[in-house]
Amino acid sequence: MSGSRGFRALLVAALGAVLVFLTVPIVGVFVNVPPGELLASLAQEGALEALLLSLQTTALALVIILVVGTPAAYLLATRSFRGRSVAVTLVELPLVLPPAVAGIALLAALGPEGILGGLLIDAGVQLVFQTAGVVVALVFVASPFYIRQAQAAFASIDPTLLAASRTLGAGEGRTFLAVAIPTARAGLLSGMALAWGRALGEFGATLIFAGSFQGITQTAPLAILARFGIDFTGALALSAVLVALSATILLSVKLLAGSPAFGGVAAR
């Protein structure tokens, strides 16, 4: 049938357009400047410091997201309660917020003049201009990526499995740790990867809320902006590292999730 062939050609053309559009800019990062020059500009003062700071802050943010987000997602996935759908919406809201809005919102809430600013000052906590502020911004923008994925993963566990565990006397806490988390691990891992990737790329919220200072708050994306004006090669070099890092995170999680030991079926 020529009609269905035409449709198939349309699908292929659409996918082709998507792939070209999404990959050409990334290729541009690598081919614009010779690899040797990219490497050399990474050695410049501040570049490695920014990368290191990015790794530290995103790792810390990820730990916080996992520790608090996993049980929260479990509750959302396995219980129905009043206001659950409101809670789900609130958790997802930062997903669609522009980063600049997230930064302004954090400043309006936790900044020195923010609604909780006085409490924080009394408690001796300073976030603005501090590495801790970067972590707060990262947790704010990245946690929904993990929680949403974790919630879906927990929700897809066969309820009789959890019931059986409880019948066998495991108790709620042990069922969560020993049955639910291992069963949902593929989904949890891919949520981790998404959250990490988002945190690694965070820019606007960090700049507005925490500021940009070398070694304290200037993460790799902020260092890219700082270099953009004078040192395009340096900005490209940092970008290349971020591309490589993000791709590594994505690939390793796909591989882990795909391997049978990690319940590969769910992730396909």
Binding site: A108, F129, S212
Partner: protein, 261 residues
């Protein structure tokens, strides 16, 4: 994203064919509000935000603005962006772009004054107070003009005082707007910005003048970008900045005219 300039070009062609006589008389003194909408894109230093938006309301053409640090805008032009107009908060960046063939010959159109900006209720009274260790200072990056002027000022101080002030820097911002935003939110106690930024902050900031021997020469230059979609309207925009509605708006916003000659 090519469609918008394309549509603008088509619209312009139509205007050019149909309304030559009217537009010739209308564009002189920023009059003729009934003229068909022309459009130009303007990449301008963030410190020009308030003034240029007010200028837009007094010109027959529609300006689409991109406000950012002059250094970032220059980098965009070097990477192939072609706004119609480039207006920077110094003369070096437009001059460098001119020598590289990216923009036409720059014109100095306005000057500004660097000041210490503090929240209205601040206790800070002079540059010496910025050495106190409990002051959180927010300045521009080394490359954005207001950050580079800041370093010029600090380099004129005795080394000890300069280092004490630099030790209080908590953030290096890409443009004046993000700096002023931080100060008005109590994030940061002081910054070096332009007096026009303080004027634009509608009473939430006050300025502390710098001693005359520390004051750097802050001059703004503007140029038509090579390959501009609409060089004629771009030149008219610049002419209005030098002597016209733009010059008037700039003075109202706290800028000063360039030295004569």
């Amino acid at each position: 994203m090519r469609t918008i300039p394309l549509l603008a070009t088509i619209a312009l062609t139509l205007v050019a064919c149909g309304g030559e006589e009217e537009s010739a008389s209308g564009s002189e003194a920023g009059g003729a509000p009934s003229e068909p909408a022309e459009e130009i894109t303007v990449s301008a230093a963030a410190s020009l935000t308030t003034a240029f938006e007010a200028y837009d309301e007094r010109t027959p053409v529609t300006e689409r603005f991109s406000f950012a640090g002059s250094d970032a805008l220059a980098a965009q032009i070097r990477q192939g962006a072609t706004p119609d107009v480039y207006a920077a908060a110094n003369t070096e960046l437009p001059q460098a772009l001119f020598e590289e063939g990216e923009v036409g010959e720059p014109t100095v159109f306005v000057t500004n004054t660097l000041v210490i900006a503090v929240p209205t209720d601040s206790q800070i009274a002079s540059i010496d107070d910025l050495t106190e260790s409990d002051v959180d200072l927010v300045i521009g990056t080394e490359d954005v003009p207001f950050g580079s002027y800041t370093r010029t000022v600090l380099d004129r101080l005795p080394a000890g005082e300069r280092d004490a002030i630099l030790a209080n820097v908590r953030s290096e911002e890409p443009d004046v707007n993000s700096t002023v935003g931080k100060l008005t939110q109590g994030a940061g106690d002081a910054s070096f910005t332009y007096s026009s930024d303080v004027a634009a902050a509608s009473g939430r900031l006050r300025d502390i003048e710098l001693p005359a021997e520390l004051q750097p020469d802050v001059a703004y230059a503007v140029a038509v970008v090579e390959g501009a979609e609409n060089p004629k309207a771009a030149q008219a925009f610049i002419d209005g900045l030098v002597s016209g509605a733009g010059a008037q708006v700039l003075q109202e916003a706290g800028f000063r005219p360039p030295p004569a000659g």
